[in-house]
C-alpha cells in the first residue's frame, strides 16, 4: 500500500465515529495483550475527546445550560461532521452554533454559543496597530473622515436571553422571548467584553464598519431635533473611543497647509 493510502486509512480509523474499520490487522501490528484494533482505538478516543475538550473550553456557558450529557452528544456529532480546519485546536468550534441550530437546540442557547464563539475570536485576534484617541479628530475634516475598527470588534444580533444566560441566569432561557438585541464583542487589553447596544448605535456601528464617512455614520441620529442628534452622536462616538474600538481615523484628503 502506498504512503497516501496508508495515511488515509489511518486517518479514517482515527476519526471514524462508527467503530473500528475492517481489516485493521492487515495493516497494523498488534499483540496478544493489545490487538491492532485496540491500539487504533486509543487514537480514535484521543481524537474525539481532545476536540470535545477544546469545544468545552470555548463553549463553557453553553455546556452548562445544555448539561454534560447533551453537550457531549452534540459535541461528538459536531466533531464527526465538522473536522478541524485550523492549526489551533481551539478554533474547531467555528460552526458549532449552526450545528446546534440544525440539531433543534433552542434559539437562545444557539445564540449563547454564537456569543461564546465571538468571544473566542476576540480573545485570539491580533493586537490593533494603534488605538485612536479622541484627539485624532480633526474637526475641520471630521465629516469626510472614516474610521478603522480594531480587529477584535464584532457585531452580533442575539436573543436577549442568551446574554442573561451567559451571566449565569439560566432561568431566563425558560422565559418568553423579548426579541433580539445588537451586541458588540471586543477585547480591551487582555479582557474580552461584550455589551448590548441600542438600535441607533448598532446601526451607526454597522455604517462605520462598512466604511461610511462619519457624516453618514452620524446621520442615523435623526430625531428631528438637530441639537439632540449632535449630542447623541457625540455621546456614541465618545463611547467608541473610550472603549478602544477605533484603530484609526482615516482622512482621505491630505490636510491643507
Amino acid at each position: 500500500m502506498k504512503l497516501a493510502e496508508l495515511q488515509a486509512y489511518f486517518a479514517r480509523a482515527a476519526t471514524s465515529g462508527n467503530g473500528p474499520l475492517p481489516d485493521l490487522e492487515e495493516f497494523f501490528l498488534g499483540s496478544e495483550q493489545l490487538p491492532a484494533k485496540d491500539r487504533l482505538a486509543i487514537y480514535n478516543r484521543g481524537y474525539f475527546y481532545r476536540l470535545l475538550d477544546a469545544l468545552a473550553s470555548v463553549f463553557g456557558a453553553t455546556k452548562r445550560v445544555l448539561g454534560d450529557s447533551d453537550f457531549e452528544r452534540l459535541g461528538l456529532s459536531y466533531v464527526a461532521r465538522y473536522p478541524s480546519e485550523h492549526p489551533a485546536v481551539e478554533r474547531v468550534g467555528r460552526a458549532f452554533a449552526s450545528h446546534l441550530r440544525s440539531a433543534g437546540v433552542s434559539s437562545p442557547v444557539v445564540d449563547l454559543a454564537q456569543l461564546e464563539w465571538a468571544r473566542l475570536r476576540a480573545l485570539v485576534s491580533p493586537n490593533p496597530a494603534s488605538v485612536a484617541s479622541v484627539d485624532a479628530i480633526d474637526s475641520e475634516r471630521f465629516p469626510a473622515a472614516r474610521v478603522r475598527l480594531v480587529p477584535s470588534l464584532q457585531r452580533l444580533e442575539l436573543d436577549a436571553r442568551a446574554l442573561t444566560a451567559f451571566n449565569g441566569g439560566d432561568l431566563a432561557l425558560r422565559e418568553e422571548s423579548t426579541g433580539t438585541c445588537g451586541v458588540a464583542v471586543w477585547r480591551s487589553n487582555y479582557a474580552v467584553q461584550h455589551q448590548s447596544l441600542d438600535a441607533l448605535e448598532w446601526q451607526a456601528l454597522a455604517s462605520a464598519e462598512s466604511g461610511a464617512t462619519l457624516s453618514l455614520v452620524c446621520s442615523v441620529f435623526d430625531s428631528g431635533s438637530p441639537s439632540e442628534d449632535v449630542r447623541q452622536a457625540f455621546r456614541v462616538l465618545s463611547g467608541w473611543f473610550a472603549r478602544g474600538w477605533l484603530e484609526s481615523v482615516i482622512y482621505d484628503e491630505a490636510p491643507a497647509d
Binding site: L3, Q7, F27, L34, I42, P83, V124, N127
Partner: protein, 299 residues
C-alpha cells in the same frame, strides 16, 4: 538528495552560544495558559522557555504579552504541533508565513515540530500520528523538511513521537528512520526521552539501543515528561512527574550527547509552576553533574 552547498539557504538560527545556552546546564519548561498570571506576576525561574507555536501565531492580547515578557528575560524555543511534516496535504503556506514571522519577531533560538502526520484531506487531527517507516515515507518527509527549512531560512528540529501502533509496512526501525530523516534533510533532533521510553514499552524494544543508535551531532534538545500506565500500554499524557526510568534515561543521554538544552513538559493535571520548577531543578542538577565530570575529564 540535499542541495549543493552553494545553493543552500542560510540556516541562520542563533547558535547555542548566541542564545546564551552553552557552557552551562540549561533547563526550562513549556508555557501553559494556567500559568500565565503567575508568569506575568513574578516571571519564570528557568534558563529558557518553550512556546507552543500554534498558541501564539497571529495572536495578540495576553498570550503575546506573556511571550514578550518571557522573551525579555530569557531565550525562547518555538515548538509546533500542527506542521504535519509527514502528511500528504501540501504544507500550509499561511502557517509557514505566520511561523516565520513569529520566529523572527521573538528571535526564537530554535523552531521544532514532530516527526509525524496530523492532517487529512484539508483537516487537522490535532494529534501526532505515527508514520510508516518506509523508503517512500523517508523521501517524502526529507523533501518536506527541506521545503520548510528553505521557507524559514533556518534548521528545523524534529521530535520523535510516542506511538501505540506500528505499521506492517515499516521496513526500518524507528531510530533508523529518525536518523535517516535528520541526516538526509540536514535537520536537528529534539529527543523526547519519555516518548522513547513509552514506545520501548509499547512496542517491545530497548530504549538504550535506540539512544545509542542516534547520530550524536544531530541531537540538539531534550524533552522530559510524565506518562501513565493505562493497563496494557503506557499513555504519553504529560500528566505527572518524570518517571524514575526516564530520569535514568536522561542520565544516559547526558553521557551520550552531553548537557543539552532540556525542556520539562507537563500538560494534563497541570500543577503549580513551582512543581515544574522543581522538576527543572532536578534536570539542571543532573546536567551540572555531567558538566563537572567533563571538566574533570571523567568519562
Amino acid at each position: 538528495m540535499r542541495r549543493a552547498a552553494d545553493q543552500e539557504p542560510a540556516l541562520n538560527e542563533p547558535s547555542l552560544a548566541e542564545a546564551g545556552l552553552d557552557g552551562a546546564a540549561r533547563v526550562g519548561f513549556g508555557l501553559r495558559v494556567p500559568h500565565y498570571d503567575a508568569i506575568l506576576g513574578r516571571g519564570l525561574r528557568a534558563d529558557f522557555a518553550e512556546a507552543i507555536s500554534e498558541n501564539f501565531l497571529g495572536r495578540g492580547g495576553r498570550a503575546f504579552s506573556v511571550l514578550s515578557r518571557v522573551r525579555s528575560d530569557m531565550p525562547v524555543a518555538l515548538h509546533g504541533v500542527s506542521l504535519s511534516i509527514g502528511g500528504m496535504d501540501p504544507l500550509s503556506e499561511s502557517y509557514l508565513a505566520e511561523l516565520s514571522e513569529l520566529a523572527k519577531r521573538i528571535g526564537a533560538f530554535s523552531v521544532s515540530d514532530h516527526l509525524s502526520f496530523g492532517t487529512f484531506g484539508g483537516h487537522y487531527g490535532h494529534d501526532l500520528w505515527p508514520l510508516p517507516y518506509t523508503e517512500e515515507a523517508l523521501s517524502h518527509v526529507v523533501e518536506r523538511v527541506q521545503q520548510v527549512q528553505d521557507r524559514l531560512g533556518r534548521r528545523l528540529l524534529l521530535e520523535n513521537v510516542s506511538s501505540y501502533v506500528q505499521y506492517r509496512a515499516s521496513a526500518l526501525t524507528e531510530w533508523e528512520f529518525l536518523t535517516e530523516v535528520v541526516t538526509r534533510a540536514d535537520a536537528g533532533l529534539l529527543l523526547d526521552l519519555n516518548n522513547v521510553f513509552v514506545n520501548a514499552v509499547n512496542h517491545g524494544f530497548s530504549a538504550s539501543q535506540y539512544l545509542r543508535a542516534l547520530p550524536k551531532e544531530r541531537v540538539q534538545q531534550i524533552h522530559l515528561a510524565g506518562h501513565s500506565d493505562a493497563g496494557g500500554y503506557l499513555l504519553d499524557d504529560h500528566g505527572s512527574a518524570v518517571s524514575a526510568a526516564v530520569w535514568r534515561m536522561y542520565e544516559e543521554s547526558l553521557e551520550l550527547f552531553g548537557a543539552l538544552p532540556t525542556i520539562v513538559e507537563w500538560d494534563e493535571r497541570l500543577p503549580e509552576l513551582s512543581v515544574l520548577e522543581a522538576e527543572a531543578d532536578q534536570a539542571r542538577a543532573l546536567s551540572n553533574r555531567r558538566l563537572s565530570a567533563e571538566v574533570e575529564g571523567k568519562p
